[in-house]
Symmetry: C2
């Protein structure tokens, strides 16, 4: 019934709206992003945005659709997993606004926080559980790793603390990698 064929004409417009929306959401957060502004920057009428996506909420949902695309950690040498994870995330953030949009909104909106918990539980925990036997412990370790990784994202991409922003990727990984490594593999203190 609501099955959508790709309309050739609209595909480009839709994509342009989506790209603009992603940009605005990630830059200014959900509340401060207005449909009118997205429409203006996409050079289209606000009502078109509504036509394509129904409402602001669904537009955000479409813009925030993403996968962490985590590597399979259990295939790596065990002493490399920390650095690999950190490296993966830093590259992910540099190349895609989407994560930042969700992070920004998660700070304010309970629904987005919910979604981040889902991503955490559905995508991060399993990968880390593959390294360990006890699932409860895996969740704790994953959460600690997340705290450090999200903390870096916050300081580097959102709050823009100069020392973290200026730090080259390699140095960042050299500092933070061992932390995550310890959270994932060190014995429970």
């Amino acid at each position: 019934m609501t099955s959508e064929q790709v309309r050739p004409r609209s595909a480009e417009t839709r994509a342009r709206i989506l790209a603009t929306a992603r940009d605005h959401f990630s830059r200014h957060g959900y509340d401060r992003t207005t449909i009118r502004r997205i429409a203006a920057d996409a050079e289209i009428d606000p009502s078109m945005v509504m036509r394509y996506f129904g409402n602001k909420e669904r537009l955000f949902a479409a813009a925030a659709e993403f996968e962490l695309r985590l590597p399979d950690l259990s295939a790596l040498p065990p002493e490399r997993v920390g650095a690999a994870l950190v490296e993966h995330f830093v590259e992910r953030w540099d190349g895609d606004d989407t994560l930042m949009a969700l992070l920004r909104r998660g700070a304010t909106d309970p629904a987005a926080a919910d979604r981040m918990r889902e991503v955490f539980a559905g995508q991060l925990v399993p990968v880390i559980a593959a390294l360990h036997t006890d699932p409860a412990e895996a969740a704790s370790r994953a959460a600690l790793a997340a705290s450090q990784i999200l903390g870096v994202a916050l300081c580097r991409y959102v709050l823009c603390f100069p020392p973290v922003v200026d730090m080259p990727k390699r140095e960042l990984v050299a500092w933070v990698g061992p932390t995550v490594q310890r959270y994932l593999t060190a014995p429970h203190p």
Copy 2:
């Protein structure tokens, strides 16, 4: 001219507004907090909020006024500084909404992010610089420590990742303390 004496009658009302504002700002962030709602919860007219604080921006400023009140780390045994810092912050957060209000807003509002950078540079860096000789290095180390500490705050108080929320304070300090310790004192990798 605009010099304000404390009016005995109003002091209580003003305090009630401020407390309610702090609560709302920390819970919902700046944008989703409305003056009308603060006024309603403080059982007062919205216009009174304006009378006392001028505008929403200044109300937030008054509500977000705070000091980290960091301990003097250089007075501690050097191998204790990491755990001490983490402990201090966890207790600080449990007892005071203000930090969380600023964190929430910092995720969305550049002005608040600015302010967090000020707090970071003005309050955290100096304390950490007291441990080290090279000031540039002190800033990097402080930023790394901040990334971990703010990451915990984010996961525990804002995003509410269950494993971090449920983790007892002692265990949290046992895990995170050594991380911060390493950032502050370990040789540059």
